[in-house]
Amino acid sequence: MSLLQVENIIKRFGGLLAVDSVSFSVPRGAVFGLIGPNGAGKTTVFNLITGNYGPNGGSVIFQDRDITGQPTHRIVAAGIARTFQTIRLFANMAVIENVLAGCHCRMRSGPVAAMLRLPSQHKEERQALSKAMAELEFVGLFDQAENLARNLSYGNQRLLEIARALASDPRLIILDEPAGGMNELETAALVSLIARIQARGITVLLIEHDMSLVMKACEQLVVLEYGKKIAEGTPAEIKKNPLVIEAYLGSDDEDF
């Protein structure tokens, strides 16, 4: 039973066909990897799923609902949260405030409630705050709550993005190169964090260049090259696939 289905999705930038009719389906509860050489269109696929870009064709089905071309905030509300390849935090705000951004879509009170200081609004704020603290504890940033986001280390900023994504109570979390800029220790911790996320019943879809992480963490992989899907399977199958080997050798990627 699949949680997310991407069907023949297409994206053009001017004359460039960045994503060429890619299809795959992510099973519920899985850790699913999207790999491929630089410029293969992986992040573009993510942006198509999360509604940052509108596709030129194809569809995205999430929990049996067509969410193609919906605005990003609706997609988040539907249960897909994400992190960004180039870290996008609210740099001049406190760590805790960054996580509260994720809580936003699960809250209800509007400007009028705030100005009238309704009890419901007050209670909701309190609940959101404890939820945010809980997520910080989950990723191991509990004691950094009052720091400014920009003062965190690179690895911790990645973790903060994950906490922010988790705060929106997603069914699917999309991680775009979560280990980018992390040292070995941090990467190892990330592998176990991904496992704990999976244990919470959240499906994980990730892009990663660190192949040791991909092989350890993912149950299933899709390989893209020049915007096309060239292979799909378990890590063990992918490792042996001649097309994949050629693609990676051709791009001189030593990680593989």
């Binding site: 999360t50 940052n52 605005p71 990003t72 905030h73 988040v76 509300a77 949260a81 994400r82 960004f84 996008r88 935090l89 609210f90 740099a91 001049n92 705000m93 406190a94 805790i96 405030e97 509260l100 951004a101 994720g102 936003h104 879509c105 809250m107 009170s109 509007g110 400007p111 409630a113 705030a114 100005m115 200081r117 609004q121 909701e124 704020e125 309190r126 959101a128 705050l129 404890s130 939820k131 603290m133 809980a134 504890e137 709550a145 009052e146 400014l148 922010r164 994504a165 929106s168």
Partner: protein, 326 residues
């Protein structure tokens, strides 16, 4: 040393509030009227701050909303004699509706493109007023004979007794400060700050950025419209030249000079931008030159604004441990 600093700040605020409240007893009509102007522009600055300060949208046409409110008040009051203060909600509503209609198609424009479009908006409004649009704005003459506000049957005439008007406008300013403070520290205010800081990240966190931008415009416009009521009833007449592009620039400068996104900063900005030219009155034709120089110098020495906002703190230490769970 943190509590001590907080204590000093609280004492300072209390002193300023006290001084403000008793000021009209000592400073005479003229300076009281200067304070009335400061208060009006403080409210305008605070309403613009929602759009420009929290929302980060380059909006240089706020006088358009102010004008819609003032003209709504003037037209209804002179035509049907409805007491002006009753018209405050109507003026706010009219300005809010106007904002809803005009802001929707332009909300997605970025930075300077939004800036020129909002300038265009305020110019179109001014030209429409001059050309006596719908035959109700009085053209270049404007509208006169607007009654002064009355509070529980007590006439508040800003011309005869600026001090009476002072307490009326101060009350409105105080309400505005409290409400906007609550708004700033809420889900709504936070969402605006997120989209101001990084729109893509805000969207990715599930915030309806377009919706919040529009809401910010509408709330800012409602308040500017209500301030328009106060202005119209203060002057007794209004004409298009009071709602020129330059008025928008003045509001814009108040927010940026004082400290974009900070209520205390905007209040200080209003005091400086409206107060300084009056302090320089004695310099006659040199006063604007000195004012311009002062603006440049202040910006150079405090590039972030004089009182930039501080990161917000959350009462996490007050959370009970058992609350921190899923």
């Amino acid at each position: 040393m943190k509590p001590a600093a907080g204590q000093i700040r609280k004492t300072a605020y209390a002193a300023i509030i006290l001084l403000w409240m008793v000021a009209p007893l000592f400073i005479g009509k003229y300076w009281t009227d200067v304070l009335n102007n400061v208060a009006i522009y403080a409210v305008l600055g605070l309403s613009l701050n929602i759009i420009l300060g929290y929302g980060g949208m380059f909006h240089m046409g706020h006088a358009a909303f102010y004008a819609v409110g003032a003209y709504t008040t003037a037209i209804v009051n002179t035509a049907w004699g409805v007491p002006v203060l009753w018209l405050m909600p109507a003026a706010g509503l009219a300005a809010g509706l106007f904002a809803l209609v005009v802001a929707r198609p332009i909300i997605h424009l970025r930075g300077d493109y939004l800036l020129i479009v909002t300038i265009g908006m305020v110019e179109i409004v001014r030209i429409a007023l001059i050309n006596n649009v719908f035959g109700i704005t009085g053209g270049a003459n404007g509208i006169f004979g607007i009654s002064s506000p009355s509070v529980f049957g007590f006439q508040v005439n800003s011309i005869v007794a600026p001090a009476h008007y002072f307490y009326l406008v101060t009350a409105f300013l105080a309400i505005t400060i409290v409400l906007f403070y609550l708004l700033e520290n809420s889900r709504f205010g936070r969402a605006l700050k997120f989209l101001c800081s990084d729109e893509v990240a805000a969207q990715g966190s599930g915030i309806n950025t377009a919706g919040y931008k529009l809401a910010a415009f509408v709330i800012g416009a409602v308040w500017a419209g209500m301030t328009g009521t106060l202005y119209a009833s203060k002057m007794g007449f209004i004409s298009p030249e009071s709602f020129s592009f330059w008025e928008s620039v003045v509001m814009f400068m108040i927010v940026i000079l004082g400290g974009s996104g900070n209520i205390a900063g905007v209040l200080l900005g209003a005091a400086l931008i409206i107060g300084l030219p009056e302090i320089f009155q004695g310099l006659q034709q040199y006063r604007l030159l000195i004012f311009g120089l002062a603006l440049m110098i202040m910006m150079i020495f405090r590039p972030q604004g004089i009182l930039p906002p501080k990161p917000r703190s959350y009462p996490i230490d007050k959370l009970e441990k058992n609350e921190v769970s899923f």
